[in-house]
Amino acid sequence: MFKSDSLTLDSKKIKDFINKESNPFLKKSRNNFLKKLGEKKFNIKEEYKYTPLKQSLEKKFSLEFKIDKNIPSNIEKKILPYIVNDNSVYQIITLDGKIIKKFSNIPSKISFKNFEELDKKEKKILHQYFGENDDSDSDVFSALNGVLWSKGLFIYIKKNQIVDNPIIINNFYTSERNIFSSQLRNFIFMEKNSKLSICELDCALASNNFNSNVTEIILEERSELDYFKIQNDKNNSTSFNSTNIKQKRNSISNTFTFSFSGDMIRNNLNISLIDESCYCNMYGIYALNDDSHVDNHTSVDHIQKNSISNEHYKGIMNGNSNGVFNGKIFVRKEAQKTNAFQSNNNIILSDNAKINTKPQLEIWADDVKCSHGCTTGQLDENAIFYLQSRGINKDKAVSILINAFFDEIIQKINQNIIKDKVHKILSSKIESYLNEH
C-alpha cells in the first residue's frame, strides 16, 4: 500500500487497526488519509532532501505493526521531576498522548480533552474542521499520522476568552523502537477575540523513541496565539512534527520552535493566512551538537491582502550535527500589500557540522514587500579578541557571543517562565560546547 524508499507497511494490519476506531467520523477520516497514502505521489526526495530518512528509520525501528501495551514501570517516578509547582502556569502531562489528570491542572473554563471525552458541541467542532488543515497532501509522515494517530488532544478556546496563564504541555513517550505507538494528533480551535499561550515539550522515557505529532490550529477573527515548542530530548528520539495554522482576519500567531537535542527531528510549520490583515511571527532557534539532525521546513501562504509575516530562525551547530532550514513564502495574486520577511542565520562551530538552508519565494501579486536573507559563518574572531583584550577569558567570550547571537529571538518570548526555561537549556548547551572544544 504505502511505499517510499524507506518505509513499507503491511496494509492488512493497518486496516485492522482502522476498523477498531469506534467514532464513525474518525474512522472515515483515517480511511481518507489511508487513501491519500496510497494515491498521492509524495515528493520525498525533494521534501526530505537533506534528511536521511532511510538511515533514521530503517536501522532503528521496527516496521512490524504493533501498539505497545506495556507501559514501563515506575513511570510516575520519571515524570515527577518535570512537574512544576507554579501558580503562574497551567501544566498538562500526557503519556503517549493521554492526559494524566492527576498531574495536570487544566484551566476550568476551557475545553482541554482527549478526543474520546468530547461532548456534543465539541464533537461538532472537531468534525467540522478535523483533518482538513494539515499538510498531509505533501508530507508523507503527516498522512501516515492521519491514519495511525493513537491519541488526540482537543483544545477549544471560546469567544472572548483570554487564558490568563500559559499552558505547558509535557508530552511523554514510552515506546522504544516502534513506529506506531507515539503518534499524536492535536486540534486547537480559537474563537473570535480569544487569547492563548501554549508550550509543548516532548520527552521520551525510552531510548530510540519514534514520535509524530500533527497539530491543526484554527484562529478565528482577532484571536491571538503564542505557540512554543521546546525539543530537548536526550534519548535519541526520532520526531516528526507538523504544525498547521489557519488564520482568519486580524488574527495573530507567534510561533517559537526551539530545538536543542534529539537524534532526528523534522519540524513542518505551515501557516495559511486565509483572510485579510493577519499577522504571524515565526521564530526558531536550533542549537545542536553530537549527531543531532534538525530539519525545519516552514511555509507561510499569503492568500488575501494586507497581511504581515515575519520569520527569523537562528542556529548554531557543533560536533557532527546537521541543520536544515527551508522557508517557503507564497504570495497569491489577491494578496496585494503583503509584507513578508524571512531571515535565517547560522554559526558553525566545528569542521564536521553542517547546515543546508534554502529560502523559497513564490510571488504572484505585484504590490508586495518581501525580503529574505540567510547567512552562515563562524564566531567572529575579532569580536572574541576584542572581549579578551578587556580581560574576559576565551570561554566566557564565546559564551557571551553565542548568547548575543540568540538574544534577539529570546527577547521576543513574551512569557517569562518560558524565557527562563529556554535560557537555562541554552546555558547548559553553551557549556557543553565549551567542553567539547
Binding site: 569580536a383 583584550s389 578587556r390 580581560g391 574576559i392 548575543a404 534577539e408
Partner: protein
C-alpha cells in the same frame, strides 16, 4: 614596565616586525610613527596578544615577566589595554554589562572585591564625564551603530574604567574631527599618572599636539629606525619619511 627585545613577528608567513626593540618606563608616553604598512598596528596587536600573529623570536616582557605566551585576557588583567583602531561591533551585548564583566575580572585578578551595582554606576558617571560619552550610547550593544567618533570615545571610556598600567592607542586619531580629537586627547591626558604609561600609534603629528610624547620612534619596515623627542614628530611632518 614594558621591554621588547629583538622581536620578530609574522602573519601568514610574512615577516612584519623584523627585530624590534622598545623600552618603556613608568609614566612615559611613547609615540610610534611610520608610513603605512610599516608594522605599527601589528606591534599594537602583538603587545595585546592577538594570536593571529606569530612571534618568531624575541621577547615581550611586562614588569619583568615574559608574556610571549600569555593570552589577551591574561595581559589585560595584568594591565595592558589596547584602544582599537577599528573597534568591533558586537550586536546583542550591552556595553555596560560588558564593561562591568571586564572590570570585575580585572579587580578579581588584582585581589580586589567586585564592584556592586551602585559602586559601578558611580565610577561610571565620573568616567563618562571625562570623555563626554552619553549614557544612552552605553546602554546599547557594543559599538553597534556608533559613529567613528563615538567608537573612539567608547575605547577611551573603557580605558578610563579599566585603569590599565599600559595603554596602547592604535591610530585613535584616525577618523576623528578636531573637536572629537580634543575630547579624546583631553581624556587621555587626564588619565595620565606618574605610574601608567601610554603608547600612541599614529600616522600624523596632529595628535601629538594634544598628547605630548616623551619619546617619538619611527617605525619603518618592521624596525625602529630613529628615536627622539617630540621635535622628531615635527621634523617628520615637514620632511616626510623619505629622508630617514
Amino acid at each position: 614596565m614594558l621591554s621588547i627585545k629583538k622581536l620578530k613577528v609574522s602573519i601568514e608567513n610574512n615577516l612584519i616586525l623584523k627585530g624590534l626593540n622598545l623600552e618603556i618606563k613608568n609614566g612615559e608616553v611613547h609615540a610610534i610613527m611610520g608610513p603605512n604598512g610599516s608594522g605599527k598596528s601589528t606591534l599594537a596587536s602583538v603587545i595585546a596578544g592577538n594570536d593571529n600573529y606569530k612571534i618568531e623570536s624575541g621577547s615581550i616582557s611586562f614588569f619583568g615577566k615574559n608574556i610571549n605566551n600569555f593570552s589577551p585576557d591574561e595581559r589585560a588583567m595584568m594591565g595592558i589595554f589596547l584602544a582599537f583602531q577599528y573597534p568591533v561591533e558586537i550586536p546583542g551585548v550591552s556595553t555596560i554589562n560588558f564593561i562591568k564583566t571586564a572590570l570585575n575580572r580585572i579587580r578579581e585578578f588584582n585581589k580586589k572585591k567586585p564592584l556592586d551595582a551602585v559602586g559601578f554606576l558611580n565610577t561610571m558617571k565620573k568616567k563618562m564625564n571625562l570623555v563626554k560619552i552619553d549614557r544612552d550610547l552605553l546602554s546599547r550593544s557594543i559599538n553597534e551603530g556608533f559613529s567613528g567618533g563615538e567608537k573612539k570615545r567608547n575605547e577611551i571610556f573603557q580605558m578610563a574604567m579599566l585603569e590599565p598600567k599600559l595603554s596602547i592607542l592604535d591610530e585613535t586619531d584616525s577618523g576623528l574631527d578636531i573637536d572629537a580629537l580634543k575630547i579624546v586627547s583631553n581624556g587621555v591626558n587626564k588619565l595620565r599618572t606618574k605610574d601608567n604609561s601610554t603608547i600612541v600609534v599614529t600616522h600624523y603629528q596632529r595628535l601629538l599636539d594634544y598628547i605630548i610624547p616623551d619619546y617619538v620612534h619611527v617605525l619603518i619596515d618592521g624596525k625602529i629606525v630613529k628615536s627622539g623627542n617630540k621635535d622628531l614628530a615635527l621634523e617628520l611632518e615637514n620632511k616626510g619619511y623619505d629622508w630617514l
